[in-house]
Amino acid sequence: MKLLVCVSRVPDTTTKITFKDGGATFNTDGVKYILNPYDEWYALVRAIELKEQLGGTVTAIHVGPAANDTDIRKALAIGADNAVRINAEASSPAFVATQIAAHAKAEGYDIVFTGKETINYNNSSVGAMLAELLDMPFVSYGTHMDVAGNTATITRDIEGGAEVVEVDTPFVVSASKGMAEQRIPNMRGIMMAKRKPLKVVEPAAFEETEKAVHYELPPAKTGVKLVDPENMDELVRLLHEEAKAI
């Protein structure tokens, strides 16, 4: 099996988000970055498990500048065999999908994995875009996946429930919680990662279709109103009359 895993890099979940230039840009000062949890914990690990079970290779692909190589090395340390970095800022889901599709088209991957969404822009768009650009079926929000021969059986989240689907390779799948268990890279993995191939590719031409022009923080809460624990009737009254929530 030839497996491709798309990995994104996002601010650590504890990051306090701030902006600069009057809200024109995200303030990256002091921000610590991690691999996007859905990509690392579920997509990448399930791809590695399938390779261990069925043989083949796992390629991690990332769109980003050279400074992100340390994050790509982490994916290699967890167990990807090789990596590709498209040398450009990941400016939008369409940009990222276009770049990855340009690489994947020539390679003939059996399964292309993404995480269900990134935790910075939460678009949940790259997987579907890739599938369209590669003319492949797309199965989103997979929580369980088995592969036998060239057919995968995938359980996926739907609104208010789950669905079991079958699909033949090649296809694109996005991974949700449940598809695998997070793996912590060990010393041996980290050492081996240093020698694994990381290919750098220049980006393909792209025409921008949309961009973020302004950022703002949600209005702060004006302060909590404490209610006497002995008087829950009062809380109910406030929720009804003041908040109009019930």
Partner: protein
């Protein structure tokens, strides 16, 4: 023309469909054009979408639409948009909408903004807002492409039924055969799924163990609320995974979020802080959640939750 894909579940419309049509009608007004809706497969009374502002309602019927396949649905919606000359397509930001969004944008070569939570503006350029960083901030996007695809965040607009039902028309659009084979669909019946819920009762590690959830379920039942939980609660299998809210779980924005025995870690807040009203019940007055709350009760949850339930019962009865 603005085209709204109105989602159905087993032939019925959910609130998200009415929200999307209302959003579509308002977007059309901003652009000085009309709003049409398209329904895929079976639907009861699709004409009612007219009440929410669709001037035309189209229904595509094909065996190929019986189950969701992003490729098939994309072909159907893009085909319909093409037929009626729609340059803006509106989807719900549901699991179906999200699975379509990117594909449809790539097919139509459109600019795409996912999870929009406000009606666009159009003073020379088309701008629309969405939450980013899992709800920690908002971003305004400018869409430069002629064609646009937007998915509307649940509960970010109230459905407005101010118009009248319209006749349902068919459209001749080629619908390809699915390549994804649906084997089984399991739906939890009788409860409102979390992303759509207006009232949510959520509990965390302060509950001490899974056997104590009776008081949470009773409170939720009395309110007609959906239950949720913090991540460690789902990770310990005290509650099912689909209840996990937060940055790495479901992001929600109900009218009312009641957090019980949850500390309010930044990753938890990220997924819930867009809720309109937040009530926090925690015995630790220093719990960070109080800073993000509208109402707080500093007390032992095992003591106060049953009494809140009693007060609500009294309120409902009156």
């Amino acid at each position: 023309m603005v085209l709204v894909f109105a989602e159905t579940v087993k032939g019925g419309f959910k609130k998200a469909a009415f929200e999307a049509v209302t959003y579509g009608a308002k977007t059309a007004a901003v652009l000085g054009t009309d709003c049409a809706a398209v329904v895929l497969g079976e639907a009861d009374n699709a004409g009612q979408l007219g009440e929410y502002g669709a001037s035309k309602v189209y229904q595509l019927k094909s065996d190929h639409l019986a189950n969701f396949d992003s490729q098939v649905y994309t072909a159907a919606i893009a085909g319909a948009a093409d037929k009626i000359g729609a340059s803006v397509v509106i989807l719900s930001h549901s699991s179906t909408g999200k699975s379509l969004m990117g594909r449809l944008a790539a097919r139509m070569k459109a600019g795409a903004v996912a999870a929009v939570n406000a009606v666009p503006t159009n003073d020379g350029s088309f701008k629309v807002r969405k939450p980013v960083f899992s709800g920690k901030a908002f971003a305004t996007y400018e869409v430069s492409a002629d064609k646009k695809v937007l998915s509307v965040m649940g509960n970010s607009i109230q459905p407005e039924a101010t118009g009248a039902a319209v006749a349902v028309e068919s459209l001749d659009v080629d619908v390809p055969a699915p390549r994804v084979r649906v084997k089984e669909v399991k739906r939890v019946e009788g409860v409102v799924p979390l992303p759509e819920a207006e009232l949510v009762v959520s509990a965390g590690r302060g509950m001490k163990g899974p056997d104590n959830w009776g008081i949470i379920e009773e409170l939720a039942t009395v309110m007609g609320a959906t239950t949720a939980c913090s991540r460690p609660v789902a990770d310990s299998d005290w509650r099912p995974h689909h209840e996990h809210v937060g940055q790495t779980g479901v992001a929600i924005r109900p009218n009312l979020y009641i957090a019980i025995g949850i500390s309010g870690a930044i990753q938890h807040l990220a997924g819930v802080n867009s809720s309109k009203t937040i009530v926090v019940i925690n015995k630790d007055p220093e719990a960070p959640f109080f800073k993000a709350a509208d109402y707080g009760v500093v007390a032992d949850l095992f003591d106060v939750v049953p009494r809140l339930t009693e007060s609500l019962k009294k309120f409902k009865a009156s």
